[in-house]
């Protein structure tokens, strides 16, 4: 049995999911020969540490760590001072300066700890530096959860489709936009109406800019371009148009001619724009689903779809990253 000490940084929706999933999958992990223990969890209020492993039931009921923290340490400090093998970084994403996630990731990698993250911002801003830092320190950096949530994409391309040349990836990488466009098309309701519905259901933030203007999708396009196509591009290299101008009339016209309109991210074209997709195309999924068509030289086109967000779903992608680091 291999003992693995894990530090979790970030205790929001995804952080809770990680604690929950690691607890639920303890037996499966043991069967794989892995004994995972959460030795520290940090959020903006402090850190809870236990070298023997923090019990899930102790923290799952807490919204923040305020009442259970054993120390006032913040993430970066906890990463460097707690004895751990792997850091799971799930703090809120920031696409402008990448903080606090970027600092956490640098601290983890430079102290020789493996990194698994769902946090896009730092990878969008500093993928190359982080990748180099991981290589220098001989540790792994995994980020399946950053693109398409639980939908397998990065590992699918890098592991399963290995041997293929990847010619391109096009897909729906934002569940909020997909929900809004799906509802507009189904009900003929205007954008603002569908947006409020998405907000009521918790699919869209109070400030939906990040999703509906295509920022989130462009971030994912940037990560795919850097991670899979080795392009070394910045967010600003992506040509982005969001969905705010799409009308129900346009969706109806498209429908009559056999198309739906989806917000499609395209690598290596580096575009994010509303696009006509034939009805019945495997990437034309509805509701909050994500999808991706992977164009390859040998296997033709492979299409995947799945939930792009959610606490447990994102944690599942993180779990698969953790397992794959130790099963090589």
């Amino acid at each position: 049995m291999k003992d693995i000490k894990v530090s979790l940084v970030g205790y929001g929706v995804v952080g809770h999911g990680v604690v929950d999933v690691l607890e639920k999958k303890r037996k499966l992990l043991n069967d794989l020969g892995l004994n995972l223990n959460l030795v520290s969890i940090s959020d903006h209020t402090g850190t809870i540490c236990d070298p023997k492993g923090i019990k899930a039931e102790k923290v799952l009921g807490e919204r923040t760590l305020q009442n259970v923290a054993t120390s006032g340490m913040k993430g970066k400090e906890a990463i460097s001072s707690v004895d751990s093998d792997l850091v799971v970084e799930v703090t809120p994403t920031n696409i402008v300066h990448g903080q606090p996630g970027l600092g956490h990731m640098e601290a983890a990698l430079s102290s020789g700890k493996h990194l698994v993250t769902s946090n896009k911002g730092p990878l969008v801003l500093a993928f190359k530096q982080l990748r180099e830092l991981a290589d220098e320190n001989n540790v792994e950096m995994r980020f399946e959860a950053t693109v398409g949530g639980t939908m397998p994409l990065i590992n699918l391309v890098q592991k399963t489709l290995v041997g293929n040349k990847i010619l391109g990836i096009r897909g729906i990488f934002n569940g909020t936009c997909n929900y809004i466009l799906t509802r507009m098309a189904e009900e003929g309701i205007p954008y603002t109406h569908a947006l409020s519905e998405a907000q009521d259901l918790g699919y869209a933030e109070a400030d939906p800019t990040y999703d509906v203007e295509g920022v989130d999708t462009a971030g994912k396009v940037t990560i795919l371009a850097n991670a899979i196509f080795d392009m070394d591009i910045k967010y600003s290299d992506v040509d982005v148009t969001g969905i705010t101008r799409v009308t129900p009339e346009a969706l109806a016209l498209a429908r009559e001619k056999g198309y739906v309109i989806k917000l499609i991210g395209d690598v290596p074209a580096l575009t994010v724009r509303p696009t006509l997709v034939p009805v019945g195309s495997p990437i034309a999924v509805g509701s909050t689903l994500n999808s991706a068509a992977i164009y390859t030289d040998l296997s033709g086109t492979i299409t995947v779809s799945g939930l792009g967000a959610g606490s447990i779903e994102t944690a599942a992608a993180i779990l698969s990253d953790i397992i794959s680091i130790y099963r090589q």
């Binding site: 010619l167 391109g168 096009r170 148009t241 101008r245 799409v246 009308t247 009339e249 346009a250 109806a252 016209l253 498209a254 009559e256 001619k257 198309y259 309109i261 499609i264 290596p268 074209a269 724009r273 509303p274 696009t275 006509l276 997709v277 034939p278 195309s281 990437i283 164009y295």
Partner: protein, 168 residues
């Protein structure tokens, strides 16, 4: 160049072969052959429509050989607009001179707007339009699309293009 030809064959055995031989001899690539047995002409001949790809220069030779073989060529013409694409526009389409938008495509000589459907809501609200554009080839479709993108950015129209089926 892609051409379609309407031929008329005598209703006796071996005629279709005689019609095909000049195409082979001139290295024309046959795209399709449709033999309309059921549509016999009043003259008792059988119409056949052939679509081929060939150089313009070889056309005369093909015609002459067909004639020598006793096949009459009723019509032969270039199939000009063989590629098509659907595009949706959103914005002030009518007020930004729809005629001009269409004309920018039509005036290229290699692409035309074949179908147009427009939905308007309020006077001040953006309208939505569906356009089907046909062009003489794949490259010409791309050129027509880039004209449309240009027009879109000038007139502040959102141009929604179809997803490409193949990797770029």
């Amino acid at each position: 160049m892609r051409l379609s030809m309407d031929l008329e064959l005598q209703d006796i055995p071996g005629q279709l072969l005689l019609a095909m031989l000049p195409l082979r001899d001139n290295k024309a690539n046959i795209i399709s052959v449709v033999h309309h047995r059921d549509r016999k002409t009043p003259r008792g001949t059988i119409p056949v429509r052939v679509v081929i790809e060939t150089d313009r220069a070889r056309m005369e030779s093909i015609r002459n050989q067909l004639k020598e073989n006793g096949i009459s060529v009723v019509r032969a013409g270039e199939d000009r607009l063989i590629e098509e694409i659907s595009v949706v526009l959103i914005g002030h389409i009518l007020n930004s001179d729809l005629g001009d938008t269409v004309n920018r495509i039509d005036s290229t000589g290699y692409a035309e707007v074949m179908d147009l459907a427009l939905t308007m809501t309020g006077v001040d609200d953006p309208s939505s339009a569906y356009l089907r554009i046909r062009a003489t080839g794949k490259d010409e479709i791309q050129k027509a699309l880039s004209i449309l993108r240009q027009v879109g950015s000038e007139k502040k129209l959102l141009v929604i293009e179809p997803i490409e089926a193949e990797a770029a």
